[in-house]
């Protein structure tokens, strides 16, 4: 299968802290890849580095054959990457509709996809005129994902969608993500192993700024020792 996104030996510093110490991995076309690891392993930094929000000082990040390193964030996004950051970074003072409209890359994107988006997220449809800050936590997460679906993206980066949500909502969000995998490849950062282990078909395991293991999810499920060592998970 073809690689959509390929990181090779990526190093990122935040201030004087060496956070990513040579990260290399591949996200394949048609896959839902889970980026796993403990708190502080560098998962969020990896996504931010891909988006150009932190500069990678070394290495290469290729997306559909284009080098991303050194490009400004807006160009990277415009190449076709939808980014759903942690803490659901929706614009709270804007209405739901304005949030979605802002994500348009070409005129008419929203109108064209409205049916599909509201089919996936029926809750949003009734709240279009409401300030996004007044939505419930689950709805805000839905909006953050919906926003990434408005333009024609070729890859989704989703950071910790389950964070701060009630278990029933986590299930809902994950079910939606599961449906999205048929549309485009997804790189999903998640701390909650149980929320993703039946969802993802590939995994990347990070520890201390490096990738320690990667492969098909089925392999990780068999790897009791690895799960315990890197994620503290007992299977």
């Amino acid at each position: 299968m073809d690689a959509v996104l390929e990181l090779r030996d990526v190093h990122t510093f935040i201030g004087s802290f060496h956070i990513l110490k040579g990260v290399s991995f591949v996200v394949q076309e048609g896959s839902l890849t889970a980026l796993l690891g403990r708190n502080g392993a560098g998962k969020t930094t990896t996504l931010r580095t891909i988006m150009g929000l932190w500069p990678a000082v070394q290495g290469s990040i290729r997306f559909l054959g284009e080098e991303l390193r050194g490009r400004p964030t807006y160009e990277i996004a415009a190449l076709g990457i939808g980014y759903v950051p942690e803490h659901r970074a929706i614009f709270r003072s804007l209405t739901v509709e304005e949030n979605l409209r802002l994500a348009e890359r070409r005129r008419g994107d929203l109108a064209r996809k409205a049916d599909w988006i509201f089919h996936l997220f029926p809750d949003l449809k009734g709240n279009l005129k409401k300030p996004a800050g007044l939505l419930s936590g689950g709805q805000q997460q839905m909006l953050a994902i919906a926003r990434a679906l408005v333009p024609d993206n070729r890859l989704l980066l989703i950071d910790e969608p389950s964070e701060g949500l009630a278990p029933i909502l986590v299930e809902q969000v994950m079910a939606t993500i599961h449906r999205l995998r048929e549309e485009m490849p997804i790189l999903l950062v998640e701390q909650n192993f149980y929320a993703v282990h039946h969802l993802a078909d590939r995994y990347i395991l990070m520890e201390d700024g490096q990738v320690v293991r990667s492969g098909p999810m089925a392999e990780l499920l068999m790897d009791r020792e690895g799960l315990q060592r890197y994620l503290g998970v007992m299977v």
């Binding site: 929000l53 964030t73 807006y74 996004a77 980014y83 614009f91 804007l94 304005e98 409209r101 802002l102």
Partner: protein, 474 residues
């Protein structure tokens, strides 16, 4: 909040006769409109970029001076502006070169100062600043005061080289933000050459056109120049300092002083009397209805039995139109949505594929253009003085603080309150209030009029520490 507003507007109505109250209210609105034109940009720029632009009043003042000059003495502009265009073009050329080969810092400094001095050596600036000889409709002054075309071209060349030296020696920015194209500096240079070589026909055309057309031209020229200056300021001076707020304060404060001194050098330290009003506001009659005013172009308007200058209605109209126009822009257009979103979270706007940098430059340019527009519109009402920039900056700051830093609607309400407070303050000082049982009116000292807006701010901040519409964290 609505109560405070009502109280401020309505309370004086109890102890002032209605016609007096109405005309004071209109005076207040006039001032409010001008303060708003400065405060709007200040507030948008702060909200979006967290930059407190102390040079914003200077843009108001420069707009006024530029508009005035286009109207009264285009010769000054046509002879001096090309030199500054050449400097800008030279700096851009130099920066392009600096990307190819380095130049010793010391040499660059010497070159800039040396050629700059050469460009202004024995310049006849003083003779050009003759506003008296170019009264509207009067004779066009003999071309004696102008230097020969060749000499001015030589000065322009020296200015280009000065800029080139300066730009060449500048530190290279790592991200390579500035455009490396030759088009922009070439365009600047071409504009300068066109202005210079066409200086006589252009001057004649401007001075011979009807006064109203000249005034419109002055408005456009002032606003466009203000916008261009703002864009230039953001892209070259402020952009490298986004990470260093204290430096921004020093920079913009410094720019405001440079601007004021530059005005003193080019236009002289004195004040100028107001520009003649456009014909719609100039005829010596007192209109009692809107139709009469529009037909005869009366200078004053009958407001409940008291005359009120019609030109001030234009200022109020411009203020209201700009307030509504920008409000609609922010509310409905995609750019407006992006601006509001970027106030909340710049990174996320960028991650949606929108170049926030360009948004910054655009908003800075628009805010600057508004301030400059306010300056031009104010000249037939206030005239010119080198201190007008700081005066309006202060009032605009008070308006922005009252309304809540970075809140657009708040800036409008703040400007409204500042204008009213000042108008009532002025009224209490010049006329005073007569209380029953007293033969003489109680008048306040003139200091009260100036302090009125600050007092208002103090009261409002005591009640709401972050301004009327401000967020708690602001």
């Amino acid at each position: 909040m609505g109560l405070i507003l009502l109280a401020l507007i309505g309370l004086p109505a109890f102890f002032l006769p209605l016609p007096v109250w109405a005309s004071v209210l209109l005076s207040g609105l006039t001032l409010a409109a001008l303060v708003f034109l400065v405060a709007a940009g200040l507030s948008l720029i702060f909200g979006l970029m967290d930059v407190i632009n102390f040079a914003h009043g200077t843009l108001f003042m420069l707009g006024a001076y530029l508009g005035w000059t286009v109207y009264q003495n285009p010769r000054l502009l046509l002879n001096v502006a090309p030199l500054f265009l050449a400097l800008g073009a030279g700096i851009r050329f130099g920066r392009i070169l600096s990307g190819r080969m380095p130049m010793p810092r010391a040499l660059s400094g010497f070159g800039m100062v040396g050629f700059g001095a050469m460009a202004f050596w024995n310049h006849n600036l003083g003779k050009l600043v003759a506003f008296g000889s170019t009264v509207p409709g009067g004779a066009i002054p003999t071309p004696l005061a102008q230097e020969p075309l060749g000499l001015v071209f030589a000065r322009m060349a020296a200015m280009t080289v000065a800029g080139l030296c300066g730009g060449w020696g500048m530190e290279r920015t790592r991200s390579g933000d500035y455009s490396r194209s030759w088009g922009v500096p070439a365009g600047l240079l071409l504009l300068g050459v066109l202005m210079l070589s066409g200086r006589e026909p252009i001057e004649r055309w401007i001075l011979e056109s009807p006064a109203d057309l000249r005034f419109l031209l002055a408005i456009w020229a002032g606003a466009l120049a203000g916008g261009a200056l703002g864009a230039w300021m953001e892209a070259t001076l402020i952009r490298p300092l986004y990470a260093r707020p204290i430096y921004q304060v020093l920079l913009t404060l410094g720019l405001s002083y440079v601007g004021t001194e530059l005005v003193r050098v080019v236009w002289g330290p004195g004040n100028y009397a107001p520009l003649p009003r456009p014909s719609l506001f100039a005829a010596p009659c007192l209109a009692s209805s809107v139709g009469e005013w529009l037909r005869q172009g009366c200078a004053s308007f009958n407001v409940l039995g008291r005359p009120f200058p019609t030109y001030r209605l234009l200022i109020i109209g411009v203020g209201v139109a700009m307030w509504a126009g920008i409000g609609l822009l922010l509310r409905w257009t995609r750019i407006g949505i992006a601006v509001r979103a970027a106030v909340e979270d710049r990174e996320m706007v960028e991650a949606l594929g929108i170049p926030v940098r360009r948004l910054f430059t655009g908003v800075f340019a628009m805010g600057s253009a508004l301030a400059a527009l306010g300056g031009v519109v104010a000249t037939p009402f206030l005239g010119l003085s080198p201190a007008m920039g700081l005066e309006f900056l202060l009032q605009a700051f008070i308006a922005v603080i009252i309304g809540g830093m970075g809140h657009y609607g708040g800036a409008a309400v703040g400007a409204f309150l500042v204008g009213l407070a000042r108008a009532f303050g002025d009224y209490l000082v010049t006329v005073g209030i007569t209380l029953p049982g007293l033969t003489e009116a109680i008048r306040f000292s003139p200091a009260i009029a100036r302090a009125s807006t600050v007092l208002l701010m103090a009261v409002i901040l005591l009640l709401r520490p972050s301004g009327l519409f401000g967020q708690k964290t602001g």
